[in-house]
């Protein structure tokens, strides 16, 4: 049971973590990316559709990423070049994504309903020999799909990009004090546009991680994950490791809520609040602790 719980926690959080890593970059550049949800959704559709029609998972993921990045580029262009409010543009992005995916689904696949691609290549679970059969540890470490494993690598890469490369360094400087950055010749525009593209890249993988493993697309299937990713971004305080922790907390709380649904008689609706309440409680706990530590 503990094994199942840990496994669900990880599997549950990875799409969110992918998107949150994307949101982290725009956040570091000083902007709240409301459009993660839409980027994920577009990629969930396009990656699955491509994978099903070409038989190539890799191609599917790449197309998913590209479509999400395209949406991110539009978002960047409209908010940076045309100086539209980034929040409203984010809402527009989500609205556009929810419309265009169903529109394409009905035009390309002839149905607005659930799309199931039986013959699509499966993003299958990788069993790690040796570890697979160890109790609990086997559940925790083995049996995920490749995108689940890669996300941990992505956390490390993001950490390096953000803290070790000039791009990350400049982006952070723009987010902290853009006037100071301008004074040393850093282009705020380029940094921020870049952060939108990276945001699209990661949100795109997050979307693919939703649809490919189950070979299914349903309109609106992201169901608020982009927003949760945003919460993880802010709780993560500008650090990919922090974002990882926040995602794990949310994943664990969701897994707990699912477990309660299967084991208790508490109303399923009330159990659905568990992930939000747990996240909130932990957030308050840390804020209180931070203040207390400072007070000593």
């Amino acid at each position: 049971m503990i094994g199942d719980f840990l496994h669900t926690t990880i599997a549950m959080m990875t799409p969110i973590l992918w998107a949150a890593l994307g949101g982290l970059f725009t956040q570091l550049g000083g902007m709240l990316n409301i459009g993660l949800e839409g980027m994920m959704l577009v990629s969930a559709f396009s990656s699955l559709y491509t994978a099903a029609n070409t038989g190539s998972l890799l191609l599917g993921i790449l197309v998913g990423i590209s479509s999400s990045m395209l949406l991110a580029a539009i978002m960047g262009y409209v908010s940076l070049n045309l100086k539209a409010n980034v929040f409203v543009v984010g809402l527009a992005t989500n609205l556009f994504a929810s419309g265009i995916t169903v529109f394409l689904s009905s035009n390309l696949c002839g149905t607005k309903g659930t799309l199931y691609f039986q013959n699509a290549p499966e993003l299958s679970e990788i069993k790690i020999p040796g570890i697979e059969n160890i109790p609990i540890l086997g559940d925790l470490l083995s049996g995920y799909d490749i995108l689940d494993y890669l996300v941990f690598l992505a956390v490390i890469i993001c950490f390096i990009i953000i803290f070790k490369t000039p791009y990350g360094f400049h982006l952070r400087s723009v987010g902290k004090n853009y006037r100071a950055s301008v004074s040393v010749g850093i282009s705020v525009y380029k940094q921020r546009f870049g952060s939108f593209l990276i945001s699209g890249f990661f949100a795109g993988i997050g979307g693919a991680a939703l649809s490919l493993p189950i070979k299914t697309f349903v309109g609106g299937m992201t169901n608020g994950r982009g927003w949760i990713a945003l919460v993880a971004v802010i709780l993560g305080r500008g650090n990919p490791v922090g974002v990882l922790m926040a995602s794990i907390i949310f994943g664990a709380a969701s897994a707990l809520s699912n477990l309660f649904q299967a084991t208790t008689d508490i109303s399923p609706k009330l159990l659905l609040t568990v992930p939000f309440l747990v996240t909130l409680a932990i957030m308050i706990f840390y804020s209180v602790k931070r203040k207390k530590v400072n007070a000593q």
Partner: protein, 345 residues
């Protein structure tokens, strides 16, 4: 002079956004003429659609005001959706239970209870912010998500009308319903409440000491502290007021249109309210036209899907194209620049 310039600029921007919306229809509709007509003229084509459009703008005016009030004190209330939904539940519950009360009393109590409930919920986020520096943006969002499920739970179970056949509360006494205008459309006297509230808050915002405190705190918190303005109280208060307005927005539809509370009836009011506030640039009075514009796009989409081949997803695409550009301050100068460049070459 600057302000007038700004308004013209905004008007041109909205105009361009609408034109691009028309282009989107041309690309997606097989009967574009009819679709465009239904989308843009439909809401004005008869009193029924027109009334519904105005009715749809009522909660948006209030949530727009709620968002702009919090924003102007630099408190980011992203939990409008939950505050609204929960406020509506409390108000509707009381209205249903007060069946024997005189109508005026019941309406007033129900409205105040909703506002109070929404205010308390938002106030919690404000208090957490003032006391422990908990990010109010995230706390209000998480509380909002939680409340939506909790309210759903009540509507599905303890506060469900078994005869409704769906997740909805029992009906309140029909005497409690706000008077209708332009019947059979949804438009009701709540529109006057909303406008009165907006004008009232405009004066609060512009003329009162409380409004002054909120504006100054929103612009420069350090200065407020220094001046002796009770910043923490201002933050809590502005969140409370914002939440109360959300609660009011929640109950007004139930008192004006449905006579009960239906699960999910408010979906999007919170987020759209934020968009309304941003389009209105946080100005309390401009919230009215911004909410009307928003309602116009919503009912345009609705009429178009009733009367032409525009499907909901296509309507969403058209709306999104307009939203992309609606706040684009650079759009006018961008077009202007292109033209000048065009002349040069």
């Amino acid at each position: 002079m600057h302000r007038i310039n700004g308004l013209i600029k905004t008007a041109i921007t909205i105009g361009i956004a609408l034109v691009i919306g028309i282009i989107a229809i041309l690309l997606t509709s097989s009967e574009p003429g009819n679709s465009i007509k239904q989308f843009f003229i439909g809401p004005f084509s008869n009193t029924y659609f027109f009334g519904n459009m105005i009715a749809a703008s009522i909660p948006l005016m209030l949530t727009g005001l709620a968002a702009s009030l919090a924003f102007s004190a630099s408190a980011f209330n992203l939990g409008l959706e939950g505050q609204l939904y929960f406020g509506a539940l409390v108000g509707t519950f009381l209205a249903v239970k007060m069946s024997g009360f005189p109508a005026i009393l019941a309406i007033v109590i129900s409205i105040f209870a909703s506002a109070l409930a929404g205010g308390i919920i938002a106030g919690i986020s404000g208090w957490l912010k003032a006391k422990w520096e908990v990010n109010e943006l995230i706390s209000s969002l998480l509380i909002s998500y939680t409340l939506v499920y909790v309210v759903d739970y009540f509507l599905e179970g303890p506060f469900n009308d078994p005869e409704a056949g769906m997740a909805a509360s029992p009906y309140m006494n029909s005497n409690f319903m706000l008077p209708k205008i332009l019947s059979p459309s949804d438009l009701h006297a709540g529109v006057f409440i909303a406008i009165a509230v907006i004008i009232f808050f405009y004066f609060i915002y512009k003329k009162s000491t409380v409004g002054y405190e909120m504006v100054i705190t929103g612009r420069n918190r350090k200065f407020s502290n220094y001046s002796g303005i009770p910043v923490k109280k201002v933050i809590i208060l502005s969140m409370c007021l914002s939440g109360s307005l959300a609660g009011l927005a929640g109950i007004i539809d139930n008192l004006g249109i449905y006579g009960r509370m239906i699960r999910g009836y408010s979906t999007g009011y919170g987020w759209n309210g934020i968009a309304v506030a941003l389009i209105a640039r946080n100005h309390p009075l401009l919230v009215i036209p911004a909410a009307l514009l928003f309602a116009f796009l919503e009912s345009g989409a609705n009429v178009a899907s009733l009367m032409s081949d525009i499907t909901p997803e296509v309507a969403r695409i058209i709306q999104s194209v307009i939203f992309y550009l609606i706040t684009a301050e650079g759009l006018v100068s961008f077009i202007g620049k292109k033209r000048r460049e065009g002349i040069k070459t």
